[in-house]
């Protein structure tokens, strides 16, 4: 019996297996939202710690917050807010079919993210120069409440920065996918490039035959839209988390 069954193993069978890895728009969006919940909860642990220590030593938190550079914080907030705008516009642009504009807006978002990280770098290095880092001599000399403030400052902004770096890499990948998949990118001089893309696609996308236009060039699929949408959602998460961190650390004094 096994032999007869083995004999039926043919490419058509293989496609049945691959075909079951269907694409479900609703599930993809739902999965992303659930993932974002888990990210909020990750930061939630830090916010709880913040609430506890702020409650225990409000005066120390007030004093320690004076050491932060409010203007740099405001600039960074504006930068991040703008980046959320550009990525939202990138999604709309793609929905309206202007791929080139969408890719441009994704690039703008990445540029703004880099601006944010550079400013953050200068903020952190100023703290390090003053010895205000975990294990630093000056920090150890402060009151325990102030030490907790700076512990939380570094962990919260550090973890947020890490998410930002990850989000930037994600956007770069998504920008590449959008540019490669688009009918615009597939036409003209980049044609050879698109052929490579269609060969590389089966392993990556899980589909045997990617949809293509008459010329055999890959076109946008629902998967590609949802990838950008989900990446944008992730970017908004990074943004929203900052809108909690910023007032907690910089503004409430």
């Amino acid at each position: 019996m096994t032999d007869t069954l083995q004999a039926t193993l043919n490419p058509a069978e293989a496609r049945i297996e691959e075909g079951q890895h269907h694409f479900d728009y609703g599930a993809s969006k739902m999965g992303m939202w659930l993932f974002l919940f888990t990210e909020f909860l990750l930061f939630g642990g830090l916010f709880i710690s913040y609430a506890v220590y702020r409650f225990l030593s409000p005066g120390d938190f007030h004093n320690a917050a004076q050491n932060l550079n409010l203007s740099l914080g405001v600039v960074n907030t504006v930068v991040l807010l703008t980046s959320s705008l550009t990525i939202a516009m990138a999604v709309t642009a793609l929905q309206k079919g202007s791929v080139r504009l969408s890719v441009g807006l994704i690039c703008a978002t990445i540029a703004l993210a880099i601006v944010f990280l550079v400013i953050k770098y200068f903020e952190w290095s100023a703290k390090f120069q003053h010895g205000l880092y975990p294990g630093g001599a000056e920090l150890g000399a402060l009151t325990k409440g102030q030490q907790q403030y700076f512990n939380l400052y570094f962990v919260m902004t550090g973890l947020h920065g890490l998410h930002l770096v990850f989000g930037t890499v994600l956007l770069a990948i998504v920008g590449f996918i959008v540019a490669r998949r688009s009918p615009a990118a597939a036409s003209g001089p980049e044609k050879s490039n698109s052929t490579v893309a269609s060969q590389g696609a089966p392993e990556e996308s899980g589909l045997v035959v990617p949809p293509s236009n008459a010329a055999g060039e890959p076109v946008m699929r629902p998967q590609d839209y949802v990838v950008l949408e989900n990446a944008a959602l992730y970017w908004h998460l990074v943004d929203v988390v900052w809108f909690f961190i910023f007032p907690l650390l910089y503004l409430i004094t």
Partner: protein, 544 residues
């Protein structure tokens, strides 16, 4: 079976065990996106970790057979119970019945061809295995295995020179597996149910997986951030839990248990789902109070997430907090009891078949009831002060986690083994194994209940001579238990090669997995089924 399908004019297709996919041999398993194969990957890794943890448990009990040093030094003993705990909790019961049986049967039971995100599913398994490897790799570093206990409590975990960092990082990575599996299951249940399968037509195992998945998604990130902070304290000198730097160790306990108490329900709820399936099928009777059993899973998930500080009654937290958490702890008993009463009501006047899965399920009910009652005793503030950190606690959570989640998984294995492998195991050997396990289990852990009641502390390497007799009884009980476990695993394993072929529906079950061939075809269903009747509508007369 192939012939029957041929007569229907449908192409005979290979079952999931025969279809090789892209690779050959082991590679065809390690790269498979098929939920059934991933379920078996989980199952075999879990059983491997379980056997390792069981060996450590055996050695711990051997050390405790008599007061004074028996086989190992105290430092080694500390590493033993830590690794035993980490292995059993994070690598065996937290994936538990959900990752192995859940992966295998969730899509089939809701009439789907796979989970919503097959690639994510495979990635979850890799997170799990890589995390486990990181934990064990600490064995080969100069610092050695951690000696803190599985809870990694500060301030000791900050001070110890053993390799807590790697253990914490390994658990952190395994957390991703848990989150992604939960996320995958929620999306699958929401999006991929077959036409006609409303929420209250889902099998109860699916309901229990749904509740578990929410807990996995919502609780695990808190463990993640707690472990990140712990690692940052050890590596970068951040002091959020360090009293010397203004930190509070109690905060660590809160954050740890905000995850780790729901984790207890992450372990037990899928097992309860398995038991609901087994009891209904082997009593040939529709489950009593279907809606209540289904919703009690959600109630357990909700209340179970609000009781974490009952682990901390003697930590110095406020009396007000103690009272609130004590009350909430008693409330969790209500949905748990709903399940137990409904199972028993299902068996009442049912056509009970004392098959091995049913025996395991009945053992589950008894052991879980003892575990639940002893839990209530510790939920009461006055008794908890007396019982805290004694062997009573250890025995209690073994009754719940091993007698509950463990026996639930074993019941599910015996229930679905013929479906998974298309082979029938030896019934007599399975029955003997179950009885041996039940006997050994009670001899071991009931002795520990009494020991703890008399004041024997947990995690101690040495004890007063007055505890000798009961410790000896407990240790001999562990040998009986291990004999039963090895008999069970051997019997199941042998059946894969030697067992006689199992029919499509050996138990007369009515859920969807019994409508397809054993072992299931590659893509489960040729045509997505349309659900009409209720989920446990057994026919009046069941063909044996």
């Amino acid at each position: 079976m192939a012939a029957v399908r041929g007569a229907e004019g449908v192409l005979a297709e290979p079952n999931y065990l025969e279809y090789k996919g892209k690779g050959r041999g082991l590679l065809s398993w390690l790269t498979s996106l098929d939920h059934k194969r991933i379920g078996l990957l989980y199952l075999f890794s879990q059983v491997t970790f379980f056997l390792f943890g069981m060996t450590l448990g055996f050695l711990i009990r051997l050390e405790l057979i008599h007061h004074g040093q028996t086989i190992v030094r105290p430092e080694v003993y500390n590493a033993f119970f830590t690794v035993h705990g980490v292995t059993m909790v994070f690598m065996f019961v937290i994936p538990g019945a959900a990752a192995s049986l859940g992966n295998f049967f969730l899509p089939i039971m809701i009439g789907a061809k796979d989970v919503a995100f097959p690639k994510l599913n495979l990635m979850s398994w890799y997170c799990y295995i890589i995390g486990a490897i990181i934990v064990y790799a600490s064995m080969f570093t100069a610092a050695g295995l951690p000696d803190t206990g599985w809870t990694l409590y500060v301030p000791y975990s900050l001070k110890t020179t053993t390799n807590v960092n790697m253990a914490a990082f390994g658990i952190f990575v395994m957390g991703f597996s848990s989150i992604l599996t939960g996320l995958n299951f929620i999306c699958t249940i929401h999006q991929l149910r077959a036409p006609g399968m409303g929420w209250f037509k889902m099998p109860l195992f699916v309901w229990s997986l749904y509740a578990t998945s929410w807990m996995q998604v919502l609780a695990t990130p808190i463990l993640g951030i707690t472990l990140v902070l712990l690692m940052l304290e050890r590596v970068a000198g951040v002091g959020i839990f360090d009293p010397a730097k203004g930190g509070d160790p109690i905060l660590y306990q809160h954050l740890f248990w905000i995850y780790s108490h729901p984790a207890v329900y992450i372990m037990i709820v899928p097992a309860m789902g398995v038991i609901s399936e087994v009891i209904a099928t082997h009593s040939r009777k529709t489950i009593f109070g279907y809606k209540m059993v289904a919703l009690s899973s959600l109630a357990i998930a909700l209340f179970g997430s609000l009781v974490w500080a009952h682990h901390m009654f003697v930590s110095g937290q406020s009396d007000a907090a103690n009272l609130v958490f004590s009350l909430l702890t008693f409330l969790v008993a209500i949905p748990s009891a709903i399940k137990v009463f409904n199972w028993i009501a299902t068996m009442y006047k049912g056509s009970v078949d004392l098959s091995p899965p049913m025996l395991f399920a009945m053992a589950f009910i008894l052991l879980f009831a003892i575990g639940g009652f002893t839990g209530l005793m510790q939920g009461a503030l006055s008794t908890d002060v007396h019982l805290h950190d004694t062997d009573f606690v250890v025995a209690h959570f073994h009754y719940v986690m091993f007698g509950g989640a463990g026996f639930g998984l074993f019941a599910g294995l015996h229930h679905w083994w013929p479906k998974m492998f298309g082979k029938m195991y030896n019934r007599r050997a399975a029955t003997i194994a179950c009885l041996l396990m039940f006997w050994g289990f009670n001899q071991l852990y009931f002795s520990m209940l009494i020991l703890g009641w008399e004041g024997m502390p947990r995690r101690y390497w040495d004890y007063l001579p007055q505890y000798d007799t009961l410790n000896l009884i407990a240790t001999t009980g562990s040998w009986v238990l291990i004999t039963g476990l090895l008999t069970m695993f051997t019997n199941l394993l042998i059946s894969v090669w030697r067992g006689r072929p199992a029919p499509e529906n050996p138990w007369g079950g009515v859920t969807l997995e019994w409508t397809i061939a054993s072992p299931p075809p590659l893509e489960n269903f040729h045509v997505i089924p349309r659900i009409t009747g209720g989920v446990y509508d057994f026919p009046e007369e069941v063909q044996p």
